[in-house]
């Protein structure tokens, strides 16, 4: 029985390999389209209405899982993936077939045999499986906090990971970004930074100062109701104004 198939893999040699193996093991299958990623899956479905997709899991742009979600039961799907223990474990419990790269002829032949048996039936809906897989492969993005500070240093734009920042201090129109090996100026005001930084790690201690708690060496009571912060890797001390001292009580 003849069938039509689509191969999606970002690596050209691996597309060629799968194509030649399929030609040998499943002569009735016509590969109607090759794709570098899953971006055009809708268009391919419209134009060719293929009966089966061979999807690489990791592809730039639209990956194999997203592509399977978009196919949404309109074609059979076989995942082709290099070693990935989480994926493999999920596949083994799922209703979908998968082939590990590099594959043996026997394994591919088995996948083809199963496919042929299934071709008559309606393709399985993979919604649930795809969700499980997506969660395993790309753990839910951590809270959307700022991870990089872009600061102009001379003609260049310096990229500073926020973990490296010891403190931020507003300075007239600018905000000073101080790290253990120097400092830079950015235009973003303290107020905006506060909204974007991870509040667990970055504490406001003064109207004009945000400190990276990981970089605090010690805190001691200072004049009036204030406190003073000594830092690791920096000689400066930072003043904690009265409104913020409560964060340091009883620690």
């Amino acid at each position: 029985m003849s069938a039509t198939g689509v191969i999606a893999d970002d690596e050209p040699l691996l597309r060629a390999q799968l194509r030649s193996r399929l030609a040998r093991l499943w002569p009735d299958l016509t590969v109607v389209q090759e794709m570098e990623n899953g971006r055009d899956v809708e268009e391919v479905l419209q134009r060719h209405g293929p009966s089966v997709f061979f999807l690489d899991v990791h592809m730039p742009g639209v990956n194999g899982l997203e592509a399977a979600r978009r196919i949404a039961g309109r074609a059979h799907v076989v995942f082709v993936t290099a070693y990935d223990e989480y994926a493999v474990e999920a596949f083994e419990r799922g209703a979908v077939d998968y082939v590990l790269k590099p594959f043996t002829e026997e394994r591919l032949a088995l996948a083809i045999q199963r496919l042929r048996e299934r071709l008559q039936a309606a393709p399985a809906h993979l919604e649930e499986l795809v969700q499980t897989l997506a969660a395993r492969l790309a753990p839910a993005p951590a809270a959307q906090h700022l991870r990089w500070i872009k600061a102009s240093v001379g003609p260049n734009v310096r990229l500073i990971p926020v973990e490296e920042v010891i403190f931020f201090q507003s300075d007239d129109k600018y905000t000073r970004v101080v790290t253990c090996d120097g400092e830079a100026l950015i235009r973003k005001p303290i107020r905006e930074l506060l909204d974007e930084l991870d509040p667990e790690r970055f504490w406001q201690v003064h109207r004009a100062t945000i400190v990276n708690v990981d970089r605090i060496a010690s805190v001691r009571r200072g004049l009036k109701d204030q406190a003073e912060i000594a830092l690791r890797d920096r000689p400066e001390t930072l003043v904690v104004s009265r409104a913020f001292t409560h964060r340091f009580r009883q620690m």
């Binding site: 970002d10 690596e11 050209p12 040699l13 691996l14 060629a16 390999q17 030649s20 570098e36 990623n37 971006r39 990791h58 730039p60 742009g61 290099a82 070693y83 990935d84 590990l100 790269k101 590099p102 594959f103 993005p141 951590a142 959307q144 906090h145 700022l146 991870r147 990089w148 872009k150 240093v153 260049n156 734009v157 310096r158 990229l159 500073i160 990971p161 973990e163 490296e164 253990c180 090996d181 060496a217 010690s218 200072g222 004049l223 009036k224």
Partner: protein
């Protein structure tokens, strides 16, 4: 500043101590003076309590004009004088009479108050100094532990397998295909893979490396990636021959190159270029990896790789080395490692 804040530190414990000291001192004094114990205690307690109150307040007043210790001594002296007067009033005596007829007694109780007070203040100061020293020792200790931990972690990171199974199996799948279609290309790719693994597998890795060796490992990796990604990847290596013999920490350059592919070139579907460059400037060896890829997204982290490199640079060179990341125009990132150029 209100009264409560001034009296911070006036604990029941402190009051009991002062009471006890006064009781003992009166007992001792009753051996010397003709006064009764009760009479002496009635003098000692006001002196003790007044001094205590003033001392507590003096410890809590924070201002810069006078050192705290001087304020405390002053409080004891003032407290003793006031206390003695207060004791006299309590006993129903007249103040003028006190300072004329009973001057000797008054001076003695003031003197004793001041003497005891100073001993107590000295004890407290010594205890505070001891606590401060202790804290300093603890801090120094913890900093040393931190450093040792850092060194150990740096060594561990180096020992951990760097070869991703995903990379390895995909590469082998490519070789598998090339063996059938282009055996010569397959041999070349295997060759690159072997060179890469020799450097990347921990058991085969050496603790010290040279820039030349690190560059060759990066080249092997890029050659493999180029076969895999086809026309999407181009690369260039510009490292002057004389710099290749220089010492350079292992596994850092490859980490930057992997980042350039993984976070830079691979995610964008167009083609990208990776350039490795090394130069010596003003006694510093600067090795950089530039890509024309996606660039960083403000809210996506760079993974552990960069933090590891920073940590290891700090352990190896103290503050003398740096990892600097900059944005490229029109897009992409340049990551540069700078170390002191020991010829």
């Amino acid at each position: 500043m209100n009264i409560l804040q001034l009296l911070e530190g006036l604990t029941l414990r402190r009051i009991l101590w002062v009471t006890a000291i006064c009781a003992v001192a009166s007992g001792a004094a009753s051996w010397i003076f003709v006064n009764t114990y009760f009479d002496l205690l009635l003098t000692a307690l006001p002196v003790g309590y007044t001094s205590m109150l003033l001392f507590t307040a003096a410890s809590n007043v924070r201002q810069a004009s006078m050192p705290r210790e001087a304020m405390q001594i002053l409080a004891i002296v003032a407290g003793s004088i006031l206390g003695t007067i207060l004791a006299g009033l309590l006993k129903g005596r007249d103040i003028t009479q006190m300072f004329h007829e009973r001057l000797a007694g008054v001076t003695i109780s003031m003197g004793l108050g001041i003497g005891f007070g100073c001993v107590v203040v000295a004890t407290i100061m010594l205890r505070e100094k001891y606590a401060r020293d202790q804290a300093r020792i603890l801090r120094a200790e913890s900093e040393r532990h931190q450093l040792e931990k850092g060194m150990l972690e740096a060594r561990l990171q180096l020992m951990q397998a760097q070869v991703e199974p995903h990379f390895l199996f995909n590469t082998l799948a490519n070789v598998q295909h090339l063996v059938e279609t282009d055996p010569q290309a397959a041999a070349r790719m295997l060759d690159s893979l072997i060179r890469y693994l020799r450097a990347a597998v921990p058991q085969m890795r050496e603790a010290h490396s040279t820039l030349g060796r690190e560059v060759e490992m990066a080249r092997a990796f890029l050659e493999i990636q180029q076969v895999r990604m086809g026309a999407r990847l181009a690369f260039r290596i510009d490292v002057p021959e004389p710099l290749r013999a220089r010492d350079f920490p292992p596994m850092m350059l490859i980490s930057l190159v992997e980042n350039a592919i993984k976070h830079g070139v691979d995610p964008c579907c167009e083609c990208g270029t990776v350039v490795i460059r090394a130069e010596e400037q003003e006694g510093r060896l600067r090795v950089c990896v530039a890509d024309t890829g996606e660039g960083v997204k403000p809210k996506e982290g760079g993974g552990l790789g960069l933090a590891n490199i920073r940590e290891r640079l700090k352990t190896l060179y103290g503050g003398a080395a740096a990892l600097v990341l900059e944005e490229n125009a029109p897009h992409g990132v340049t990551a540069a490692i700078e170390v002191p150029a020991a010829a």
